[in-house]
Amino acid sequence: MALSRSETSIRCSAEAAKVFVDWYYQSVNEGKPVAGAYVTNNATYRASGHPPSDICANGLVVATPEEWDQMLAQQRFIPANAAASAATTSTTIGRSPPSAVNYDVECYDAHVINPDFRFAAPPALLTDGKAHGSGESNGAGVRMMVMVSVSGTVTFGLEKDAPKQHFSDVFILVPNWDVIAKHGSRGTRRYIVASQTYRAY
């Protein structure tokens, strides 16, 4: 049924957006790398010839997700050598320094921009009929390309009157086939980033 299928996509895209946004900003706020969630670092996509993730931050094209991680780390106040030294010294004392840069998501919205995404999809998800006998017919609610538009506030510093900026972060997410193909898998990496456009001002 066409209607229920699009309803499924809408609900699934919202769910995918939620899982992704929660994971992404928590990672960024905690200073954890996010590079693993980009198409660039996904073997299946790269093997099929997908271009690297398009990352553009404040108007600057960022070559790799790793570079983006680096820019985020640089933006956080942790001194350049802190991470390295924390890794080398055996004494990991107390908690790591509180991250001075905090992203506070206030709003996001998601649109399915391609409900029939096929690139590099495993054949099982492309065939008509039931996939994995799970009732997920024809990859509905899975084979989606989703645009997620996130807005919020980024605070620079821990003080109460620390400077703030508004940020908008727009992602194009595509399925992470490696995870989706495993039946029943849930979690953060079901969708990965094909494009990210960031602005904070």
Binding site: E7, V21, G94, I113, R199
Partner: protein
């Protein structure tokens, strides 16, 4: 340590808990305040101070416990109330002589639940006034006043005249600030908050502590010498070192009192720059942690001759004392550790002198402190990579002009039956304009759970539905797309959209993210003003079936997030013809081919990029201009001073004069 309960405690703000034996021992009774929130340290003893029945007793320390006439002389209450009190007391000469005579104790229950309980005094004052007002006859013939009042965890205990009791009980059941009150008569004895003994000793304690501090303060060196506190006769005499826990609490109290000596933080910072905690048998700085709260801007700290063994014994102060320049740990076992110096250098960014040795230069310290400041990712101009066919600027120009003037036509021309539109608002981003007109359409998934039907209802699909929604939205006026400083437009082409003709496996799409602002005129609320927005378009090839006028592309997805990030106050009623007064969005023209020259400097604060950023700037400029990296760097380091925008401008000006070697490959 519990914070003081009095809202305007002044110099009496801090009263430590407990009092027995002059030491600082843990007791459950807390500070008491009088009706006006003053900490009453000077109330006389009232009988029967057994204290057993008190739980967190707070007394209204007013008439009942004192002479019974305090309210007459206290100027802080309203004059009508004073007059009322005078009348009451005047007509009953016998009653004031003995507190509690001819009086009945009532318990008031339910005040904890009411909204006013969050007031600074826990809502007591308002509550009492409420009961008095409600119990008094409306004609003023028989005003009721409440005498002694004690507050404990569950009840407010009030004492009223015997003949007022029926009037007061009548108030029972009345809703007060959202919760019904229950007032019952009781034979129980009113709990006694141990007021006198506690406050007396508290005062004494504070005086002693202040004396200790005064004796140990060296104004010339701006030094507070807290070394060898265990040998301080005053402190020992107070029982401070009877146990480990009393000693730690005493230190907290000392730190609190230090804080009270200065009205403003900068005063404190100026007057107190050094502290010695030498020879205090400190095993872990946790024992004296409150120093970091009391004196966060300390410059010199002496911890020598203590018993600090490991880094973890110091770790509680990690990331504290950002200004600390000098630290002495000599005479602590930790100095035997091999790695402690580099670690401490990281923990204390300003540290220059450790145990009398220079460990950083002033410049290095400044740099390492600077490194702790977050540096926002620098702002670059709009970055639109739309395949050089100028689709995006043309689309945006047409789109916003039509959105302002003819939304119905826009929906028909650029949207088809599969196009999606939704809007989301961030109302707490500003109150420049009301949000009402958008509220019922806002699709903020962040606030929805996945079963929320609005997830579906607020996603508009198909040109006609979208057009209908747009009719309901307030009128807008977007600035011209060519107006500099008004727009930030990023975007790029991407692959793997579905091909509407079904001929090839995938089609190219274009995503455009617009950050900008528009003027809004909302007829329903009669308001005008400026709103900021982020709007994301995904464009894809038109379907062959789309009716004319058929553009080569259609809007697949259009998502608008509205916010309000303007710093200036809202314009009163008149529309603002200019947007210059608003906090500008740092922006450059959307595409170099539109207006490459008339570029205003981006409104980014003075930014000195680090090496990494410089390299990025150089690469970016090289990419945009075709110049070699060397020339790009020259261009950036010259007049542009690492301002990307100025560099672009300089390039445009100097372009004809540049040698061919300036470019990556001569064409």
């Amino acid at each position: 340590m519990a914070p003081p309960t009095g809202p305007r405690g002044g110099t009496h703000r801090y009263v430590p808990r407990g009092s027995r034996g002059g030491g600082i021992s843990k007791r459950r009774a807390t500070t008491k305040t009088d009706r006006d929130g003053d900490v009453a340290m000077d109330a006389p003893v009232s009988g029967g101070a057994n204290g057993n029945s008190v739980r967190g007793g707070v007394t209204r320390g007013g008439r009942g416990s004192r002479s019974g006439r305090d309210s007459v002389t206290r100027p802080t209450r309203g004059s009508s109330r004073i007059a009322q009190s005078i009348r009451n007391y005047g007509t009953d000469p016998g009653r004031a002589s003995k507190a509690g005579f001819g009086r009945v104790t009532l318990k008031v229950q339910g005040y904890r639940d009411n909204k006013a309980a969050n007031n600074s005094d826990g809502g007591r004052r308002r509550l009492l006034e409420f009961i008095e007002r409600k119990a008094s006859r409306p004609d003023g013939s028989k005003p009721v006043t409440i005498g002694k009042t004690v507050v404990d965890d569950d009840f407010v205990w009030i004492s009223v005249r015997k003949d007022d009791v029926p009037d007061v009980l009548r108030v029972s059941g009345h809703p007060y600030a959202g919760a019904p009150l229950t007032i019952t008569e009781t034979d129980e004895k009113m709990p006694n908050p141990e007021e006198a003994r506690m406050s007396q000793s508290a005062l004494e304690l504070k005086q002693n502590m202040t004396a200790v501090l005064a004796k140990r303060y060296n104004a010339e060196q701006r030094l507070l010498d807290l070394s060898a506190l265990g040998a301080d006769n005053t402190l020992v005499g107070m029982g401070t070192f009877d146990s480990q826990s009393t000693a730690q609490k005493a230190f907290k109290v000392l730190m609190q009192i230090v804080g009270l000596q200065y009205k403003r933080p900068d005063e404190k910072k100026e007057a107190l720059q050094a502290v010695s905690l030498a020879r205090n048998d400190i095993i872990d700085v946790d024992q004296v942690f409150s120093l970091a709260n009391a004196l966060p801007d300390l410059k010199r700290l002496d911890l020598s001759s203590n018993k600090i063994e490991t880094l973890s014994n110091l770790s509680k102060w990690r990331n504290r004392f950002k200004q600390l320049e000098e630290l002495h740990l000599t005479g602590n076992p930790i100095t035997a550790l091999p790695n402690y110096v580099p670690e401490l250098l990281q923990w204390f960014p300003s540290l220059q002198n450790l145990n009398g040795q220079q460990v950083r230069t002033v410049e290095e310290a400044a740099a390492s402190l600077k490194a702790l400041e977050p540096t926002p990712i620098p702002q670059f101009p709009s970055n639109l990579r739309d395949g050089d066919n100028n689709i995006a600027p043309q689309f945006l120009q047409a789109f916003f002009a039509l959105f302002d003037t003819d939304r119905a036509r826009l929906a028909v021309e650029f949207y088809d039956e599969d196009s999606l539109f939704s809007l989301a608002i961030i109302p707490n981003s500003g109150r420049n304009l009301p949000w009402r007109s958008y509220m019922k359409f806002s699709r903020n998934i962040h606030k929805f759970n996945s079963r929320n039907p609005q997830l579906l209802q607020r996603l508009f699909s198909g040109g006609s539905q979208i057009g209908d929604l747009w009719k309901a939205l307030p009128a807008t006026r977007h600035p011209s797309i060519e107006e500099p400083g008004q727009w930030l437009v990023d975007g790029h082409t991407f692959s793997h959209l579905a091909d509407p003709s079904g001929q090839v496996e995938s089609a190219m799409g274009l995503i455009i993210i617009v950050n900008g602002r528009f003027e809004e005129a909302d007829a329903s609320t009669n308001t005008f003003g400026t709103r900021t927005f982020t709007r994301t378009f995904v464009l894809g090839p038109s379907k062959p079936s789309n009716p004319p006028p058929r553009h080569v592309y259609r809007v697949i997805s259009d998502q608008m997030t509205l916010h309000d990030w303007t710093a200036s106050p809202p314009p009163a009623t008149a529309p603002q013809p200019t947007v210059e007064s608003q906090a500008p969005i740092p922006a450059i023209p959307i595409h170099p081919t539109i207006s490459p020259i008339s570029v205003p400097p981006p409104v980014v604060g003075a930014m000195v990029p680090d090496e990494n950023m410089k390299a990025q700037l150089i690469r970016e400029l090289s990419k945009r201009t075709g110049m070699t990296l060397e020339y790009s760097e020259l261009c950036l380091t010259g007049v542009a001073n690492w301002n990307f925008d100025s560099a672009l401008r300089a390039f445009e000006e100097q372009k004809p004069n540049l040698p061919s070697t300036a470019f990556v490959s001569a064409v």
